[in-house]
C-alpha cells in the first residue's frame, strides 16, 4: 500500500511518519509537498504533525488553504483513508473535513508525555484491526490539543459513532486525571461521518518500536493495510 505523507512548510512530523511506515510497517511511503494537486497515486494519506506555517494565528489555520488540501478534500470525498495526526488533525478540523476545533491546552502549557487511549470505534480504516475498548499507549506532544465541540454536536458525534479515541487511565477509565489537555469528554480522536477520515492528537507514528518506548502505534497504521487488502480483493485480486 502506498502512503502519501503531506509536508507543509513547518511540518516536522513528516519524517517520523515516513520512518514509521517504512521501518515499522515495511510499506512504501513518500513525502508530498503542499503545492501538489494530485493525490490519486496514493492508497492512503497521512497529514503529519508539526507547526505548519508556525501554527501562527491558530494551529492549522493557514495550512488548510494550501493547494494540496483541495486534493485531500477530493480524496476524502472519494472515501480514501486519511489520517491527521496532531497538527494534521488541527488542519483537518480547520478545513472542516472533521468536526470541532482544537484549542489551547487547559494547562496553557505544551505537553509531551505518553498517554493511554481507548479505541471507541472500529469501523474506520485506521481502527479496523483493533477491538473496541482496546487500550493503546502513545506519545502526545502538543500545545493546542483541547478538543472542543458544542454540547449538541457532541451528542450527534456520540450517536453517529464519530468519537474514535478517548484518553483513559491505565485501567481504561476516561477520568479527568487521564485527560492531558482538557478535551471535552476526554476525546483524543474523531472521524468524519463516513469514517474514512480520522484525526487524533496522539502520535501513532512515534510509537513503532519498543526501543523508543513502544510500538502500539503500529496497530493504527497497520489497520489501514487490512482495508487495502480488501480493496485489492474487491478489484478481483486474490
Amino acid at each position: 500500500m502506498r502512503f502519501g505523507i503531506i509536508t507543509f512548510p513547518g511540518s516536522n512530523g513528516d519524517h517520523d511518519a515516513l520512518m514509521a511506515v517504512r521501518l515499522g510497517l515495511g510499506q512504501p511511503a513518500e513525502l508530498v509537498w503542499h503545492t501538489e494537486t494530485d493525490l490519486s497515486n496514493y492508497d492512503c494519506i497521512i497529514i503529519p504533525g508539526g507547526f505548519s506555517y508556525g501554527d501562527y494565528l491558530r494551529a492549522g489555520a493557514i495550512a488548510r488553504f494550501a493547494p494540496v488540501m483541495q486534493a485531500v478534500a477530493r480524496e476524502a470525498e472519494a472515501g480514501k483513508p486519511i489520517l491527521g495526526i496532531c497538527n494534521g488533525f488541527q488542519i483537518l478540523t480547520e478545513a472542516q473535513l472533521l468536526p470541532g476545533a482544537l484549542l489551547r491546552n487547559a494547562s496553557l502549557e505544551f505537553v509531551c508525555d505518553w498517554v493511554w487511549v481507548r479505541v471507541e470505534q472500529t469501523h474506520t480504516p485506521w481502527t479496523s484491526q483493533l477491538a473496541r475498548g482496546a487500550r493503546l499507549r502513545l506519545p502526545i506532544a502538543h500545545g493546542e490539543g483541547r478538543y472542543f465541540v458544542d454540547e449538541k454536536t457532541l451528542g450527534e458525534l456520540e450517536r453517529a459513532g464519530q468519537i474514535v479515541f478517548r484518553y483513559v487511565d491505565a485501567e481504561g477509565n476516561a477520568t479527568p486525571e487521564a485527560n492531558p489537555n482538557g478535551s471535552i469528554a476526554n476525546i483524543a480522536g474523531v472521524c468524519n461521518g463516513r469514517g474514512n477520515v480520522v484525526g487524533l492528537m496522539p502520535h501513532p507514528e512515534r510509537a513503532f518500536d519498543r526501543l523508543i518506548g513502544g510500538d502500539d502505534g503500529l496497530w493504527i497504521l497497520a489497520s489501514v493495510l487490512a482495508v487495502g487488502l480488501e480493496v485489492v480483493r474487491g478489484r478481483g485480486g486474490n
Binding site: 488553504f65 484549542l103 489551547r104 472542543f148
Partner: protein, 90 residues
C-alpha cells in the same frame, strides 16, 4: 486598482461565550495575586491589525469581513468584530 486609499483595520477576535478560556482564567488569577482583587473576569483574544489598499471604506469592510470569515477567526469557536479607519499612506 487605479484609485485606492490605504486603510487600517483593527480586528478583535474572541472566544465565543461558553467556550472555556483557561488563559483568561490564568490572567485573572495572576492579576488577583498581584493585588487586583477588583478583577471579576478576563477573556483573552487576538488583536489583528491589517493595513490594506481599497478604493473606498465599503470595499475595505467587505474584504476584511471576508478575511475574518476565511482565516482570521474560526467560526466554530470564535467571534470577531472590526473597525476600519483611513491610514496615512506609506
Amino acid at each position: 486598482m487605479n484609485e485606492t486609499a490605504r486603510w487600517r483595520a483593527e480586528v478583535f477576535v474572541s472566544l465565543r461565550p461558553g467556550v472555556n478560556d483557561p488563559q483568561g482564567l490564568a490572567v485573572r488569577d495572576g492579576l488577583r495575586r498581584l493585588g487586583y482583587q477588583e478583577v471579576e473576569e478576563v477573556r483573552v483574544g487576538r488583536y489583528v491589525q491589517v493595513w490594506l489598499q481599497a478604493p473606498d471604506v465599503q470595499t475595505a469592510e467587505r474584504r476584511i469581513a471576508a478575511m475574518c470569515e476565511q482565516l482570521l477567526a474560526n467560526p466554530v469557536v470564535e467571534s470577531y468584530r472590526f473597525v476600519i479607519e483611513p491610514a496615512e499612506s506609506q
